[in-house]
C-alpha cells in the first residue's frame, strides 16, 4: 500500500524519484509513441492530397508593369495626345506613317498604338496592316506586336479596311473564312465562333 502511494507520489512529482530502469522504460515508450506519431503525421506528407480551389477563391490575375517607357508606348501616346489636341480633323495618315516608322525601328508598343489609333479613326491602310498583324494566314509574330494570331481581330480590321475602301481586304476576308472553316473542322472552338460572323446577314 505504502509502495503504491510512493509510486503515485513519485509520478506526481514529475519522476524525480524514479529508478534508472523505469526511466529507460519510459524513454523507450516515448520514443515508440513519437515514432508512431511521426509515421501517422508523415504519411500524408509522402502522398499529399491537394484540395481543389473553389473558383471564387482563386486570387486575381495580375500583370507585371512594363519595364520601360518604350514597352508602355509612352511616345506614341504623346503623339496621339498631340494629334488630338490640334485644331481640325485628326491627321490619321500622319499617325499611320509614324506607325510604319516605329515598326521599322522595332518600337513595337508605339507601332501597335499608332496602328490602332489610325485604324480606329477609319484610315484604311492602318486597318489593313493591323488586320494583317493578327491574320493567322499572314502572321509574322514580330516581338511585342501581336505575338499571337487573333482571327477575330484580323476579321474586325479587314472589315474596317474594306468599309474604308481598301481593295485587297475582301480577298483577305475570303481567305480568313477558308482558314476558319478548316480550323473549325479540326475542332477549334474559336474558329467556330468566328464563322458565325459570316452567317450573320447584318454583318456582311
Amino acid at each position: 500500500m505504502a509502495r503504491q502511494m510512493s509510486t503515485i507520489n513519485g509520478y506526481s512529482r514529475c519522476g524525480g524519484q524514479l529508478s534508472p530502469p523505469a526511466l529507460i522504460g519510459i524513454v523507450i515508450v516515448a520514443v515508440i509513441i513519437l515514432a508512431v506519431i511521426y509515421l501517422v503525421v508523415s504519411e500524408p506528407e509522402t502522398e499529399p492530397v491537394p484540395e481543389p480551389v473553389p473558383e471564387s477563391e482563386r486570387p486575381l490575375e495580375s500583370v507585371a508593369p512594363a519595364e520601360s517607357a518604350k514597352e508602355r508606348g509612352d511616345t506614341a501616346r504623346e503623339i496621339i495626345d498631340e494629334l488630338r489636341s490640334r485644331e481640325g480633323s485628326i491627321d490619321y495618315a500622319a499617325a499611320y506613317d509614324r506607325a510604319q516608322q516605329f515598326r521599322t525601328e522595332a518600337r513595337s508598343a508605339d507601332a501597335l498604338l499608332m496602328y490602332f489609333f489610325a485604324a480606329r479613326g477609319g484610315y484604311a491602310p492602318a486597318a489593313f496592316d493591323l488586320a494583317a498583324l493578327y491574320d493567322p494566314n499572314h502572321h509574322s509574330g514580330d516581338p511585342g506586336l501581336a505575338e499571337e494570331p487573333d482571327a477575330f481581330q484580323a476579321y474586325r480590321w479587314y472589315r474596317a479596311a474594306r468599309d474604308a475602301g481598301h481593295e485587297a481586304a475582301e480577298e483577305r476576308i475570303a481567305a480568313l473564312r477558308t482558314w476558319a472553316e478548316d480550323a473549325a473542322g479540326a475542332g477549334d472552338a474559336e474558329a467556330e465562333r468566328l464563322l458565325l460572323q459570316w452567317e450573320n446577314p447584318s454583318e456582311e
Binding site: P52, P54, V63, P65, I80, G144, A146, F152, R156
Partner: protein, 648 residues
C-alpha cells in the same frame, strides 16, 4: 434665344418627358417574375418534374393538366394553400402566367446550367452515378481502375449492383443542333487524377440505352406519290431530296433508325387501261432500310404516258395501300407523306377503288399511329380542282390535338416544293438523331425560312415528334410517366483528366445575351480609349459601372467591400457570373496598375473583350441557333446553351 424657339424646345422636352413617363408607366404595369434572392435582374426559374400538374387555380387542383417533363418556367408568385406550397408560373418573363403548380412538383434551377456531352467517338463515355458518395469515393481514392470497370460494365448493359445508373449515349448529339436538357442542379470542385474538375448533380429522366432505342424507336416514312403524266418534275425532285436524305442519314450512322418507302398511285385502270396500275409499291419500309436499295427502286418510278379521266386521281388508294400493305411493325414514329397535284376520288366516286373518304382514312391511319401529311401542288392547270382537293386533304391530314399537316405549294413551284420537302425530311432526320441520343425530348422552334406556311407545318411536325418521344418515354418507364432522378457525374475522365468529357453550358436567354453584349460593348469602348490615354481608365470604368448597373448601390459597395480593381470587383455582370463554376480571366484581371501595363498586354485584354462582343452580336442575330423551350417562335426568352468559357 427667341420665345418661339424656347417654346418649341420646351414642348420637345415635355413631349420627351411624357414619352418617357408613358414608357415607364407601361413598364411598371408589366408583371415580372420573382427575383432570385439578392439579385436585381435574375428571375426565379424552375423545371417541372415528370407528372407535374398545372392548375388554373391553386384552390381547385382537381382542374389541372399534366405538363411535359422538364418544362421550364419563371416563378411569378409563391403561396400556401391548404398547407401546401404552390407556385404561380409562366413560360416567359413578360407577365403571362400559365397557372399554379405544387412546389414539390418543380425543381429550382437557379443558374440555368446544363450538361452538354462531348462526342463519345473522341472521349470516353460519361457515367451517371445514383449516389454522390460512390462517385466522390472513387475520386478521393483516385480509383481509375474501378471507374474503368464500371464503364465497361455499363457499356455492356450490366448495371445491376452498380452505383452507375446510366451511361452517356453511344452516339454523338450536338446540343447546338439538336437541343436537349440535362439541368445541373448543383456543382462542386473536385480533383480528378490531380486535375481540377467538377462534380455535378444533374436532373434527368432515364437515358435510354441506344441499342434499345435503335430497336424500338425507329422512324418509318412512306411517300405516297402521284405518278400520273403531269408529275415528272416532282418525282425527280423527290428523288433528289431522298438521295440527300440517305447521304445525311448514313453520314450520321442512323441507317438502322429510319427507313423510307414509296407507293405510287394513278387512277382507275378500268377507265383508262393505259395507266397500268392504280397503286404500286416501289419500296416497302424493309426495302428502304438500305439507302442503296431504296434509291435503286425509286429510279423505276416513271410518270404515266397517258392521261387519266378528269382531274381527280385515286390518291386514297395510294394512302390505303401505304397504311394497310406496308409492314409498319418495328417503327415507332410513322409518317405517310402524300405528294400530288390532283384531288382524290371521293367515296361516292364511281372510279374510287377504295370507297373510303378522308375521315375514314384518317381514322385508319390513327388506329395504326400513322400521321399523314400532304404536299398539295397547286398547279395552274388544276385551278378549278384546288378548293375541293384542299378541303379533302385537310381532313385527311388532321391529327388530333395538333392540326392539319397540309402544305400547299402555290403554282406548283418545283423549287418551292423541293425546298419544303428538304426542310421536312431534315427535320424528321433531326428528330431521329435526337431520339437516338436517348436524351429527353425538347420542343424546338422552327427555323425562320420566310415561308410562314412551311414554318406552321414544321411547328406541327415538331409538336408531333415531341409527343411521340414523350409517349415513348412514358411507355418505356412502365409507370405512366418517366421518373425524374438525381444523378452525379464528373466532367473529366480518370484516364485523361486534362480533357473534359462534357461541357457545362449556361442556358442564357436572348435578352440576357443582349444585356451582356451591351455592357461588354461599353466596357470595350472604355478600354480602347484607356489604351490610347490610360490615365483616366479606372475612373471611367467606375463611372460606367455606376451608370449601367441596375443596382448602383451594389456597384458602389462592391468596390469598397472587395477592394479590388477588376471588372468583377467593379460589379460588372456579377449577377450572371456569381456562383458559376467558372473563373473569368478577363473579368478577374487586376486593372489597378493599368497605366503601367505594356501596351501589348493592354491590347490582349481589349482583344479578348472584343472577341466576345463580336461573338455575342453574331450569336444574338443568328435566330436559327435559339431554342424556345415553350415551342413558340424565337423571342427574348428563347435560350442558347453558351459554353461557360464563352461568358465574359
Amino acid at each position: 434665344m427667341s420665345h418661339e424657339r424656347m417654346t418649341a424646345r420646351t414642348a420637345a422636352v415635355l413631349s420627351m418627358m411624357a414619352a418617357v413617363l408613358c414608357f415607364a408607366s407601361a413598364e411598371a404595369q408589366v408583371t415580372r417574375p420573382l427575383l432570385q434572392d439578392g439579385k436585381a435582374a435574375l428571375y426565379q426559374r424552375v423545371i417541372a418534374v415528370p407528372g407535374a400538374r398545372l392548375a388554373e387555380d391553386a384552390t381547385n387542383p382537381a382542374d389541372s393538366r399534366i405538363v411535359p417533363p422538364f418544362s421550364t418556367y419563371y416563378v411569378y408568385a409563391r403561396d400556401t394553400v391548404g398547407g401546401d406550397q404552390w407556385l404561380q408560373v409562366g413560360t416567359d418573363s413578360n407577365g403571362a402566367t400559365d397557372g399554379w403548380m405544387p412546389a414539390d412538383q418543380a425543381v429550382d434551377w437557379k443558374q440555368t446550367l446544363t450538361v452538354a456531352f462531348r462526342d463519345p467517338a473522341q472521349h470516353d463515355r460519361v457515367l451517371l452515378f445514383s449516389e454522390r458518395d460512390a462517385l466522390k469515393k472513387l475520386l478521393d481514392e483516385n480509383d481509375a481502375a474501378t471507374y474503368r470497370r464500371l464503364r465497361e460494365q455499363a457499356a455492356a448493359g450490366d448495371m445491376e449492383d452498380s452505383p452507375v445508373i446510366a451511361i452517356q449515349p453511344e452516339h454523338n448529339v450536338d446540343i447546338r443542333r439538336d437541343f436537349y436538357l440535362v439541368p445541373i442542379l448543383s456543382h462542386e470542385d473536385v480533383l480528378v487524377s490531380g486535375q481540377q474538375g467538377r462534380l455535378l448533380r444533374v436532373a434527368t429522366v432515364p437515358l435510354q440505352d441506344s441499342a434499345e432505342i435503335a430497336r424500338t424507336f425507329r422512324t418509318g416514312l412512306v411517300f405516297v406519290i402521284d405518278s400520273t403524266i403531269s408529275m415528272r418534275p416532282y418525282i425527280d425532285a423527290t428523288r433528289a431530296v431522298m438521295q440527300r436524305v440517305y447521304r445525311s442519314i448514313e453520314a450520321a450512322e442512323l441507317s438502322e433508325r429510319a427507313s423510307f418507302g414509296l407507293v405510287a398511285f394513278r387512277d382507275s385502270t378500268d377507265a383508262v387501261p393505259g395507266l397500268e396500275y392504280v397503286t404500286r409499291t416501289f419500296a416497302s419500309l424493309d426495302d428502304g432500310s438500305s439507302g442503296e436499295e431504296f434509291l435503286t427502286r425509286i429510279e423505276a418510278v416513271e410518270p404515266s404516258t397517258v392521261s387519266s379521266q378528269g382531274f381527280n386521281e385515286d390518291a386514297y388508294a395510294g394512302v390505303e395501300a401505304a397504311i394497310r400493305s406496308i409492314d409498319w411493325s418495328g417503327y415507332y414514329a410513322r409518317y405517310v407523306i402524300v405528294i400530288t397535284d390532283a384531288g382524290p376520288r371521293a367515296r361516292d366516286d364511281s372510279l374510287s377503288s377504295t370507297g373510303l373518304d378522308a375521315a375514314s382514312l384518317s381514322r385508319l391511319a390513327a388506329d395504326k399511329d400513322i400521321a399523314i401529311g400532304v404536299f398539295h401542288l397547286k398547279t395552274p392547270a388544276g385551278a378549278d380542282n384546288h378548293d375541293y382537293a384542299e378541303s379533302e386533304y385537310r381532313r385527311l391530314s388532321a391529327v388530333s390535338g395538333i392540326g392539319e399537316f397540309y402544305y400547299p405549294v402555290p403554282t406548283g413551284d418545283v423549287d418551292r416544293f423541293e425546298t419544303a420537302l428538304t426542310a421536312l425530311t431534315e427535320q424528321l432526320t433531326a428528330q431521329v438523331r435526337a431520339a437516338a441520343s436517348g436524351q429527353p425530348p425538347v420542343q424546338r422552334a422552327s427555323s425562320s425560312t420566310g415561308d410562314t406556311q412551311l414554318e406552321a407545318f414544321q411547328d406541327k411536325v415538331s409538336r408531333l415528334g415531341y409527343g411521340l418521344r414523350m409517349r415513348y418515354l412514358q411507355e418505356q418507364s412502365g409507370e405512366g410517366v418517366p421518373s425524374l432522378f438525381n444523378a452525379w457525374v464528373v466532367d473529366r475522365d480518370f484516364d485523361e483528366p486534362s480533357v473534359r468529357d462534357l461541357d457545362v453550358r449556361a442556358l442564357l436567354t436572348r435578352d440576357q445575351l443582349s444585356d451582356l453584349h451591351e455592357v461588354l460593348r461599353q466596357v470595350l469602348i472604355t478600354a480602347e480609349e484607356g489604351a490610347l490615354a490610360p490615365d483616366d481608365f479606372l475612373d471611367e470604368l467606375q463611372s460606367l459601372a455606376a451608370t449601367i448597373s441596375r443596382d448602383p448601390q451594389a456597384a458602389r459597395t462592391a468596390t469598397r467591400a472587395m477592394g479590388g480593381q477588376s471588372l468583377a470587383d467593379l460589379g460588372y455582370m456579377r449577377e450572371y457570373l456569381d456562383g458559376l463554376p467558372y473563373r473569368s480571366e478577363v473579368m478577374n484581371l487586376d486593372l489597378s496598375i493599368w497605366e503601367q501595363w505594356p501596351a501589348q498586354r493592354q491590347f490582349e485584354f481589349i482583344n479578348q473583350l472584343d472577341g466576345k462582343v463580336a461573338y455575342y452580336r453574331a450569336l444574338h442575330d443568328n435566330v436559327d441557333l435559339w431554342v424556345s423551350l415553350d415551342g413558340g417562335p424565337v423571342d427574348g426568352d428563347s435560350v442558347y446553351p453558351l459554353l461557360l468559357e464563352a461568358l465574359p
